[in-house]
Amino acid sequence: MKTTTKKIDDGIQISVEGRIDTTNYNEFEKAVYKVLKENTQQIYLDCSGLSYISSSGLRVFLTVQKKMTATGGKFKLFTMQPAIKEIFDISGFSSIFSIYPDLETAKKGK
């Protein structure tokens, strides 16, 4: 798993590549928490390279969503692979996250 972070015009974009599972979810957590500390209003998560996620990864997503919602910020996910979207669907996560086809639409989304 690899994450890269960059500032974009109205927030911070994180790109995640590879697998988020029980063996490495804490690395992902660390990377995202670092971004949370910057108190940005919008976090964009590029999921195009995310190939696998288990419940330990989903837990991190949910925690970030809770934290962002609590501070009035937005956590936007975009370009999710169908297999990952399916996991989000069956766990009920699709309805609690804003998932967009690409960065453009994520920026326009509320």
Binding site: D21, T22, T23, S51, Y52, S54, S55, S56, L58, R59, L62, T63, Q65, K66, T69, A70, A83, I87, I90, S91, G92, S95, I96, F97
Partner: protein
């Protein structure tokens, strides 16, 4: 009697999280050997991870080394996974299901693993056999 060796494979792992790497490698081998549908592999990977991490984290006393057995069985277009451990009795199928209609604020962190297994697999059952927990999970495909 012809025992179909090729239709039954066993993997034995230790109750350590680093063993998940071996499980994934084994699953990839099974995919090739048994010609399993590629689309099935990520969900089987997920199910194995959820079920095994549960056992690894909760079944045994801390700092004790134990073995966990994972049996793969292929019958026509049905894959049967059986996980056997000698940890404390625990029936994961009895765990209450998360309410997936809750908002992010109300949604508790955790409790998803077993639920995902039940969603992905067609049948999940638990048995306590003597000092063993046995979780049997079936997946059918077309």
């Amino acid at each position: 009697m012809e025992t179909s060796e090729k239709m039954h494979k066993k993997l034995v792992i230790k109750n350590k999280i680093s063993e998940m790497e071996r499980v994934i490698a084994f699953l990839e081998q099974m995919e090739k050997k048994w010609n399993l549908p590629a689309a099935l592999i990520p969900s089987i990977n997920l199910v194995l991870e959820e079920a095994l991490t549960n056992v690894i984290f909760y079944a045994y006393e801390e700092d004790t080394e134990n073995e966990i057995e994972v049996d793969f069985e292929l019958k026509d277009k049905q894959l049967i996974l059986v996980i056997t451990d000698s940890g404390k009795p625990f029936d994961p199928t009895k765990k209450s299901e998360p309410d997936i209609n809750l908002s992010a604020e109300d949604r508790p962190i955790g409790g998803l693993g077993i639920f995902l297994i039940k969603q992905v697999m067609d049948e999940v059952s638990y048995q306590r056999n003597g000092k063993f927990n046995q979780l049997t999970m079936l997946k059918n495909w077309q």
